[in-house]
């Protein structure tokens, strides 16, 4: 039986790193091991499209280095995959057969690309973009590629399409939904984004399904549901991700689409926590207190990671997770799109849209439920707080709608330190 670590964290991206920091705020000494399947130092999946384009050098994207782990008195095990969580024995089985014991375990394993059921996909060479090695591989492939097909117009697909286009590749983007970034923006906002892509020569095939794919020389030949065909030297599949939780299959830890956690990020097993893209946690907007969502965004991974770390270390300052709010920032061809909150709860109280600028505000009674902008200045962090604090905007409603950035800053100055 191995000597158990006080804390073990599986995964070394934002949720795991923030949990490590939170643990060390409370417990400077307890033995701590972090396990990552990557050989590289910790990095963020969000930076990968920029590694593809060459804007970010792979050796400069590390979020922390070995010296930092030494300072934190934490052991970083790189290039090791957890094959099984043996929860009754409080131990992890690794791919090399070794065992690591734990007293308290955090699963921050993130998500893995979810491959669509396209006939022939397994038989052709394609790329995904989730790990640093994927990005380095894509970057290396660029010089020989003239045409690329990107499947999926989510954030990864859009970022990759833009960066491929900037690298001189002729890109075709295929999306099942009738618009890009359907999870974050409505049709008007999506239209602004779509036209920016079209203007730069990216071909958008929206509302189209891939019907089949086959090898074509060094590249691929893709059939669409309308019978048309595309050929390309490179295929990138970015049709979404799913929580990476193979290792807990026989552990008894309760799952739904992700690992189910409570408001302290604790799983159904008392000494196991989960945070980040793998966790399915409270929905801020849920009318049913039991409603659980996967809110796969970076700032929420940080929040969840910190709460998990505080809970694991017994930090009395822990404030329970208020629930996930969808939010994101998206920059494309020098323009800025920001999405905070939900479009479908409450009523749209302001909507301004033209070809270059877009602003939409959604409120329920006098509380903000969502604000969405393209090239419209406001502070997303302040808006997030307005939503979480359920600030009554009634007295300032007209002023807020006229100038959301300034009025939100005023409320911030009055309401929080």
């Amino acid at each position: 039986m191995p000597v158990p670590n006080r804390y073990v964290i599986v995964g070394a991206s934002h949720a795991g790193l923030e949990a490590l920091r939170a643990i060390r705020m409370q417990d400077a000494e307890g033995s701590l091991a972090m396990i990552t399947r990557d050989d590289a130092l910790p990095y963020s999946p969000t930076v990968l499209p920029y590694v593809v384009s060459g804007r970010s050098a792979p050796e400069r994207v590390a979020l922390k280095d070995e010296a930092w782990f030494a300072e934190q008195k934490a052991q970083l095990l790189r290039g090791r995959t957890v094959t099984a969580v043996e929860a009754t024995a409080n131990q992890l089985r690794l791919d090399d057969g070794s065992l690591i014991g734990y007293e308290r375990l955090l699963l921050a394993t993130g998500a893995a690309p979810q491959l669509p059921p396209i006939p022939g996909l397994r038989g052709v060479k394609f790329h995904v973009l989730r790990r640093l090695d994927d990005a380095i591989g894509l970057h290396a492939a660029l010089p020989s590629v003239k045409q690329a097909v990107v499947l999926g117009a989510g954030l990864i697909g859009m970022h990759a399409a833009e960066n491929l286009a900037k690298a001189g590749v002729q890109v075709t983007l295929v999306e099942l939904q009738p618009r890009v970034l359907a999870g974050y923006f409505d049709a008007d906002a999506a239209a602004i984004i779509e036209s920016a892509f079209s203007d730069r020569g990216v071909r958008l095939l929206l509302g189209r399904r891939a019907a089949g794919v086959a090898a074509d020389g060094a590249g691929i030949r893709l059939q669409l549901d309308d019978g048309s065909e595309l050929t390309a030297g490179l295929l990138l599949v970015a049709t979404g991700v799913a929580p990476a939780m193979e290792c807990i299959a026989d552990s008894g830890i309760a799952t739904d689409r992700g690992i189910l956690v409570d408001e302290r990020m604790q799983t159904s097993v008392g000494n196991v926590w989960a945070a980040g893209d793998v966790a399915q946690a409270r929905d801020f907007y849920g009318t049913d207190a039991g409603a659980r969502i996967i809110n796969g965004i970076l700032p929420d991974a940080v929040e969840q990671g910190r709460i998990a770390g505080q809970a694991m270390a017994g930090d009395p300052a822990l404030r329970p997770y208020p629930g996930g709010v969808p939010l994101n920032t998206y920059t494309f061809f020098g323009q800025q799109a920001v999405s905070v909150g939900r479009q479908d709860i409450g009523e749209t109280v302001l909507r301004e849209a033209d070809r270059a600028r877009y602003l939409k505000i959604v409120m329920q009674q006098d509380q903000l439920t969502g604000i969405f902008g393209i090239n419209a200045p406001f502070d997303p962090g302040i808006m997030w707080e307005l939503i979480l604090r359920r600030i009554d905007l009634g007295p300032l409603r007209a002023a807020f709608l006229a100038d959301p950035q300034t009025v939100a800053r005023r409320i911030m100055s009055r309401s929080w330190r």
Partner: protein, 457 residues
């Protein structure tokens, strides 16, 4: 973890002139367009709202950056942005709840305050005092690791300011010290000892109220005879300094004994039941200046002991307050240094929660208001330099802001407040006159300096 300097904003002093924003924009972008300023101030219903990077201790912008482009520097605490790593994703702006890191359309990337390498351009142009660069962190970084030379568990009243004065001063003065604490709150809370143990980690003794400075004189001279350098320090109350102890204090000052005498002025004999002293101000309730059918509190003004000490031409004399710690530490350092050459006198105002009757959590606020209303003036004197006001007494808060917090002044009639205001004004004119060289003694100092300058030429 070290402490860091910070830019502080007081909206009540802001007049919305916008100079800070123009100055910041000019320094950072070369154009004075306020839109490019890293500090943003907006009118808010008669007040002002601030959006500015707080240089958070646990910054969410850094945690939310996927490209390692933001980093909190360990030396100055500034969160620095690295343009060579930034990928313009704007996720940092989601992490910030203060509007402190914002996309700038002209520069095409996020911008934030970097405190101008410790010399913020916005603060420099703020004439109203609304923006200040707070450098008090220096004290913590310099003295945080020094040993507290008082025992834990002194039995001061809740919220006692005097205990703060004691612990701060002695840890700075250091262990090579012989300490005298005449009767008063300081020995009363256990500093001098109980059950056969002392409350200090340095030699301490308990002189009579009358002979503190005399006994210290003897001790200091004996150590010098033995060839040992020690700090001879008194921590005395205002009663022990201004009343019964004044004869020996005046004598030691006049002889230029190498002593550091710290008067902790809580304006009365608070330890023994809150009796008046000669430092109790006009109108104050004490147990011997009661308020009732005829009594209206003390009927005389306070003795200005620090001015009396200055007129002994001591090596160094200063007034200080725990509401202004940087100033206090600067003066403490000068006083320690001066006591190697001659008599150094430090007069520290110490609001008393019990005797002045105010809530114990308000002590710092009371200390601050006393100074901000000019009830207490902060100044220092050294021979050859004359008197210098160490805090600008311009734009004081109303004296009533200070008086109304304190139970001992609750009974004051308007005419009493006018009397106190008159005393404050008179003291201010007198001290400003000294600072401006208008007092004959100071005028002659100025003349001496002019003579010396002339001789040198």
């Amino acid at each position: 973890m070290p402490a860091y300097n910070t830019i502080a904003f007081r909206p009540e002093l802001c007049n919305g002139c916008g100079d800070c924003m123009r100055s910041c924009a000019s320094v950072k972008t070369g154009s004075a367009d306020p839109a490019n300023s890293r500090i943003q101030i907006a009118a808010d219903d008669g007040s002002y709202a601030l959006a500015l990077c707080r240089q958070c201790a646990d910054p969410k912008c850094v945690a939310s950056c996927p490209a390692a482009a933001l980093d909190k520097h360990g030396d100055d605490g500034v969160i620095a942005w690295d343009g060579s790593k930034c990928v313009n994703c704007l996720l940092c702006t989601v992490g910030c709840a203060y509007g402190g890191i914002v996309y700038n359309a002209a520069e095409r990337h996020v911008v934030k305050c970097d405190t101008c390498d410790g010399d913020p351009a916005c603060v420099k142009v703020c004439d109203t005092g609304a923006l200040r660069y707070i450098t008090t962190a220096r004290i913590y970084n310099e003295v945080g690791d020094l040993e507290d030379l008082f025992a834990p568990g002194l039995s001061g009243c809740q919220g006692c300011n005097t205990e703060l004065v004691m612990r701060h001063t002695l840890r700075r003065i250091g262990p090579d010290t012989v300490l005298a604490t005449p009767p008063g709150c300081i020995p009363g809370m256990g500093a001098v000892g109980y059950n056969g143990l002392t409350g200090t980690k340095v030699p301490v003794f308990h002189p009579l109220l009358t002979n503190t400075a005399s006994m210290l004189t003897g001790i200091k001279r004996q150590y010098r005879r033995l060839g040992r350098e020690v700090n001879a320090v008194a921590l005395a109350g205002d009663g022990g300094a201004a009343d019964v102890g004044f004869q020996s204090l005046s004598g030691a000052a006049e002889r230029g004994e190498q002593i550091l005498f710290i008067c902790v002025d809580n304006e009365g004999y608070m330890n023994t039941g809150m009796q008046r002293s000669s430092c109790t101000p006009f109108g104050a309730w004490t147990s011997t200046t009661p308020v009732g059918e005829r009594g209206r509190g003390k009927t005389q003004d306070a003795k200005n002991l620090p001015v009396l000490m200055m007129m002994h031409n001591c090596e160094y004399v200063a007034t200080a307050s725990t509401g202004f710690m940087e100033d206090l530490y600067a003066k403490l350092d000068r006083a320690i240094d001066a006591s190697k050459r001659g008599f150094a006198y430090l007069h520290i105002y110490s609001p008393c929660t019990t005797g002045w009757r105010f809530p114990s959590q308000d002590n710092m606020e009371v200390a601050r208001k006393a100074v901000e209303s000019n009830f207490v003036l902060l100044w220092e004197f050294a021979p050859g330099e004359g008197l210098r006001l160490s805090r600008d007494p311009g734009r004081p808060v109303a004296i009533t802001e200070y008086l109304r917090v304190l139970g001992k002044f609750r009974h004051l009639a308007d005419e009493d407040v006018r009397h106190i205001q008159g005393t404050v004004n008179r003291n201010l004119r007198f001290i400003e006159g000294l600072a401006g060289g208008q007092h004959p003694a100071m005028a002659s100092l100025a003349a001496d300096r002019a003579d010396q300058a002339g001789t040198q030429r």
